[in-house]
């Protein structure tokens, strides 16, 4: 089964990885991103301790863009199933923000597709991250 979802609930990567598995495949590659405690400011180089994160999403468009990525990945790579779930709202440090899981008959394709998907997701899917640290907060703007 393929899926592209947003949720404000905690993500269980084991459950997500298992949902993409068809009975004829033997391996899944899963990318798991999470709220990190320390962030380096790209301009100043200063390391900040994050208190929590907040993700905002243009939900309807984000799901459409994620579905497009799933379709493109299935055209480009020999994979069976793809699942993408992105968390929204407030995330405590250590909580999972995104899971990209790819099942394939051969693991090479699963690795390639998973890496391509997370790269494209960060580039094209309309979701924004706010870092909240002691004494302030900051909406991260992508490099795109």
């Amino acid at each position: 089964m393929d899926f592209a979802e947003l949720t404000s609930q905690p993500l269980d990567i084991g459950v997500i990885a298992r949902r993409v598995v068809p009975p004829e495949c033997g391996a899944t590659v899963t990318l798991d991103g999470y709220a990190r405690k320390f962030t380096k400011d790209k301009t100043s180089g200063e390391v900040r301790e994050t208190r929590y994160l907040e993700y905002d999403a243009y939900e309807e468009m984000a799901i459409m863009e994620m579905q497009k990525l799933v379709e493109k990945a299935k055209e480009q790579f020999e994979i069976s199933n793809v699942g993408i779930v992105h968390r929204t709202g407030r995330l405590e440090i250590g909580e999972t923000s995104v899971v990209v899981s790819v099942a394939a008959p051969h693991r090479r394709a699963a690795f390639e597709a998973c890496e391509w998907l997370i790269k494209e997701l960060k580039r094209t899917v309309p979701i924004w991250k706010k870092e909240v640290y002691l004494g302030g907060d900051h909406w991260v703007e992508g490099e795109n």
Binding site: M61, S97, W128, K130
Partner: protein, 79 residues
Amino acid sequence: MSVRILFFGATAEVACTRSQDVDVAEGELASSVFESVLANHPSLAAHKLFFSVNQQFATGGEIIRDGDELAIFTAVSGG
């Protein structure tokens, strides 16, 4: 004829709203609608902005129709 403009993340913070309805003229281009919105929120210009029309990334050349949903946002940073 009216369209809805959505803001997210940094642009919602700068515009102090997540959504705003604006009147548009028949046959108006998306670029013209976006320009007038930006004129009302000059501090948005401090950001590199991206635009969408009906949930598709927009170039500005789109002809706007009644009820269209437009959005203005900064470079995405999910993941």
